[in-house]
Subunit: 378 residues, 4 copies
């Protein structure tokens, strides 16, 4: 329809998982139309993938796309960057400097230096920068955040967050699996393996929901699988400003865990528990009362969750809808920005600063672990 | 994109729940473009809703839409009918007789007479008829079906199926809630209340997964809420051809249940358990072995589930993706039909015959209950 | 200790399951001392079993035990009857007529005629008769009952109760398993198989918690396993006095179910859900509010549960403690009876009338099923 | 019965929780008879409590009891010590040196110095010393241990263990609750609060199941409640000999947690997950296969669990049965010891060395935390 945002995509060719996710997420609420792509670092692959998707305009590389689209009257208004991590910065820079809004996969970059440069590039641009820490799009994560803000659990004391997987329990990177190859290659993924890939998600959602700021951490990272170049398991103790404490566990070698992102927050007046794999449920215990099971759009949910929810309680929304919420929030922000209007109330999405915080977290984990698990400030 | 199927919609205006669901479902896999609508029985409402959606062509009523679209070269190829039940037949007829494929909400019709007429209209048409018994689109429902077919639980002996809600525990239909009004009005919803609205879903998924055919039933229907004109709770005992037995419970007055559709099947060699609210899990017990938790796209799932699954295990897909699977299956069938090719392997969706079976089931329940719960053949 | 009740036991020899359960249950709260036994219908087996248990007095048969113990100054005050069902009546009679209190396993008897005679024998005796429908001893079943009585779920509308097992999915009775043999032999177990063995438990707990009285039922019983002489699966629809409706399912051929007794009750103001396999949890939904998880001895539990609970919340009590509660309630009643004091407040246990109701239920199920599932009054 | 072990008890008067637990645990399998007690440090209270229990012999203090019972021909063979922690050592010493077997509550002692002395006292005695780290008595904890030993999860890589409660979320120790007073008083409980009370349980079960030995740890302990003198929350990172890593969390300020002891173990070939609050279930994931739910006495359980299990699967055993297993194992060891026979195969219970390991763990946590969370060797 006419008021869809014209969207381009960098990365996300045929054999990439996350590109397809971004495309579905952009479609669900009908706010975007994908019209251009540089879908692979190999021009030929980009072309084949673009044709398969029926894209009107396919480019050899992202720079070409940025230059040419910026010149078109009907050029893309926003771009999704869904490449391996080390390409995020150079790609984002090209679009930001041409005023094209950027929706970028996480982690922000593969190095802290790049992350800082990207913050500068973003600050220097009028365009918006949206980071798809997609789990913040889940309605019940927002419900939890809202309840913390409203004081329903009192002062936060303890944060337990974890993200466990099992798919890298064996050396898949030496068996030809592309997803495993780049995610375990420090040059492409960064110095953190599990830490960067999923630990940042855990860290991000914990900060998103609690509003806490990290002060220092101590990390013990391991590569349990022989020959692995980056960590596949990370244990981290957290100290937040103001005195709250936390533990963060990320693992890709925990058999029986698929995408077990789980957040538990305990305060002076209550507790909250949420798990990504069953995202429509939020457990809330007011201290001294029975545990309550709050369901998405069910009794006890407020506006923060309701405005990013589509269907009645008991009809599960999932990962793609949570991801779509980031896109839809971004669309609202883009449209407001374009029209010079204030951003609609409640719109929230992860920013370049959240991305910097994530890369800083990974950097601190790696530094701490190299120093034998010593405490380091962030 | 150019190869999207041009879609129209009957019903589904601003204040309808299910219309929005159909629209999202049609978009998720990018196989349809909604281009026309008669979104309300009130022309003015149809127009307002159509404009809000940015529809290129909005009509006053479905007949007008059928006639005009059939004449256009770029007219709709398929239509979604998402009205109250009593409109399904008259609307579908108009499109079927003009060769426009129909994707129709359930139950098929509000009366058995209409259902039979609709079967005839469908049989007489070259167009496809797809009924959105959307729960059959869930990957793990298909996994279960596949396992039954493959003999993994042996001969089916016992089927326990239920669909419980609580939203009609009070007389909302007398408090101005539109959704409650038509769903409790026999003229619009049919003779069955909970039976028609959700009992048919339960019945359909049980038959879909087990492949069993119902022989007879005994039903005890109640309207527990004062002044309610249709049943809000139904207890049904089932006898299937071949000797399997079942129980079906549907209720809209069961506090604590949102959309608790739950299917359990027990055979001579094993058991299967699945619940719509946690749809990514399927419990399988091979007789004499520990219970196993099969997850969507996880270890132990086969092609039947995998081909309608989009993302890795542990990333939940939900109601909208299950619904989208019906649309995407329909798209595959429509494209095959248009090109004269055989339908791609594995494509399956509920048909007009399934719809007739559902209305027959409701009719039998109502007949049995009126005869004091006597056994009646179907 | 000196104030323990002197207890005898009929049945419960070496190879019986339930005898050991009764013995542990009688010990947990230190209210009984087992001092005599007629542990088998075979005198030699009785002697061997009695010696293994270190019993002071072992008898050849129950009649001998009743006669001799009644004559002793330090004779047994109470007797546990844990034989196959057909022995319950003749054994109980001998003790009741000698003023010895009877604690009897369920179902009350194997025939309705015997049940009626046992009621008479009990009525004619000054001794107490306690039936070990042990699930009524679970604290959270009592919590549920208390909440129904207090109106917390309003008028009960719907009762869903089930007891599913899988251990008889194959013809074990033809493979030498003693437990399976007598439980599938109509002469010893009665006309109902699953119905009598576990259906009565389901029926009893439903009535215990809701306080409802059954009016009529329609039952469809099956023996799915070849050559089985009694039902191994029962589907029953229930109509209670006052208009509440229910469904009861019992099965011994449902793979994946061990002792899945589950009770769900829905009223005009709320719902309650409880499962025997996770007995320390009670789900309560006040209509229009989030579901709450009440835990044994945790926030929200009252005296009815607290007085039969031993340890803090989060430390699970199980089947044996629930069983012990029946024994301990019986001890309180026996002591009060002996001293001419009123029974302590809150003491409750299943009686001979509950037992008659259970046998009546089984009889009605069998009658209905024989009449092709017709409705029969009870 | 004649072959019951004569048991005494130190501590466990009227208002103590754990004394009652020990008494029930000692009774469940009929292996002990409680005949003597010094139930309180206040002689008058000891007498009152002893009379309430009907104890034949009540003493003013434990020393008196040890001396006099040792002289009797029918004196106690074993003693249960269930006092606050600081009394464990002096009390145990008196019995050990007189050859009376000791069953002692955990943690072993309140100080590391005492722990070492107690080890010496135990080593110097012919009597057995049994520590009631009761969670090791749960059948499924033993099943898990057995599976690790049998290599079913390969080399252990990651251990996640936690024990969370919420009962000390407010300063109950200043509101007159005796249980809270001594457990937060360093003089009676030791330097560790949550760490000593429940952290030791978590540490013990992790080592019991995995067989791993701790090498070093880093701990961050907090007292979140104002005025609390010992930690109420502990975060600990663990490094085991051989390279496995772990995290341990213990908390008494986590609202919504009652006795949430939870153990998760991940190895190169599979994973295991177990929770104390639902102790009859053990989740096992063989790498690359669906997760399996193994139930106590159900399919897939072996002898290690079966021999400490009493009733069929689906009938839950709980905390008291797990506790009883420690007592029953101790009885088997005592009887074997008395008769000069080898201990029966499979008998296992926590020893004084396990107790020393626990106190060493607490000491290391406190040392690490005082040194700002530095890594310390144990």
């Amino acid at each position: 329809m006419s008021n869809r945002i014209r969207l381009g995509m960098v990365g996300g060719g045929n054999d990439a998982f996350i590109g397809g996710v971004h495309r579905i997420a952009s479609r669900i609420d009908d706010a975007y139309e994908l019209v251009a792509g540089a879908l692979s670092s190999t021009p030929e692959k980009s072309r084949v993938s673009g044709e398969a998707l029926g894209l009107p305009r396919v480019y050899d590389d992202y720079k070409q796309m940025a230059i040419r689209e910026a010149r078109r009257k009907d050029g893309i208004e926003a771009v999704s960057i869904v490449t391996p991590n080390h390409v995020h910065y150079p790609a984002a820079r090209e679009f930001l400097k041409r005023g094209i809004h950027v929706i970028c996969d996480k982690p922000l970059t593969s190095t802290l230096a790049d992350a800082k440069k990207l913050v500068k590039a973003s600050d220097a641009s009028d365009a918006l920068f949206v980071l798809t820490h997609n789990y913040t799009g889940y309605p019940m994560a927002r419900q939890a955040r809202d309840m913390v803000v409203n004081g329903e659990i009192g002062d936060v004391r303890v944060v337990q967050v974890e993200y466990a997987q099992d798919w890298l329990s064996t050396p898949l990177e030496h068996e030809g699996l592309k997803q495993a190859e780049w995610r375990t290659d420090p040059a492409r993924t960064g110095a953190g393996g599990a830490t960067g890939d999923i630990g940042t998600h855990a860290y991000n959602i914990a900060c998103f929901v609690t509003g806490l700021k990290l002060e220092s951490l101590a990390a013990d990272l391991d590569a349990f699988v022989d020959g692995r170049q980056v960590d596949d398991n990370g244990h981290v103790m957290l100290r937040f400003e103001g005195g709250a404490k936390g533990m963060l566990w990320c693992s890709q070698v925990a058999p029986g865990n698929e995408n077990a992102l789980r957040l538990r927050i305990y305060g002076s007046k209550g507790g909250l528990e949420w798990a990504q794999e069953d995202p429509n449920y939020l457990w809330h215990t007011p201290l001294g009362e029975p545990k309550r099971l709050i369901t998405r759009n069910g009794a006890g949910t407020g506006d923060a969750a309701g405005r990013v929810s589509r269907i009645p309680p008991g009809h599960p929304e999932g990962y793609l809808e949570g991801f779509a919420n980031i896109y839809t929030e971004a669309a609202a922000a883009i449209r407001a920005h374009q029209s010079g209007q204030p951003r609609p109330e409640g719109v929230v999405f992860p920013t370049v600063q959240d991305g910097l915080a994530g890369v800083t977290f990974v950097d601190a984990c790696v530094r701490s672990s190299k120093r034998n698990g010593a405490w380091v400030n962030v």
